[in-house]
Subunit: 103 residues, 2 copies
Amino acid sequence: MSSEVQDLTRLDRVIHEPARLGIMMVLHGAGEADFLYLQRECGLTQGNLSSHLARLEETGYVEIEKKFKGKFPMTVCRLSVKGKAAFDGYTEMLAAVLQVVRR
Amino acid sequence: MSSEVQDLTRLDRVIHEPARLGIMMVLHGAGEADFLYLQRECGLTQGNLSSHLARLEETGYVEIEKKFKGKFPMTVCRLSVKGKAAFDGYTEMLAAVLQVVRR
């Protein structure tokens, strides 16, 4: 078991934080999403969502584009290639953990 | 997807911390384990393991017994009934998250 347990220390903590994990899940599923949709899906306050998105953008996992839909400003978010790869690596590691637990 | 994503905010953060997740995994698999064995399996320093075990004991998830094996002091750790239930709930939630991601 040691190897899977010791792998946990390499778990990506940017993604491991539950609110950010939720954001990454929604973006992974939806391809892209605007701020209000993300806020509703994740059940986060505006301030919380903003700060977690900022962290994800800093890390290069999420790309954020501000644009207009007619007169209305929109903030569109999507996973970057780096973010998609990191998310896939993270979920593979979780799956390995669960397999050990169920053995 | 919203419900699984929003469930993430209820994820047990005592267990979610990677080092503590590793400790819980080892104790879940082994039934009980002494301090040195846990340290080796988890790849943690003595200080780190001590402080995470203290947190798990405080929360009532782990029971810690100090005893002697011949002349040698031993610290034996095991999951409590509460800890076992919390760990099962946590891993069920993780499994639900993975299922959503793979859908």
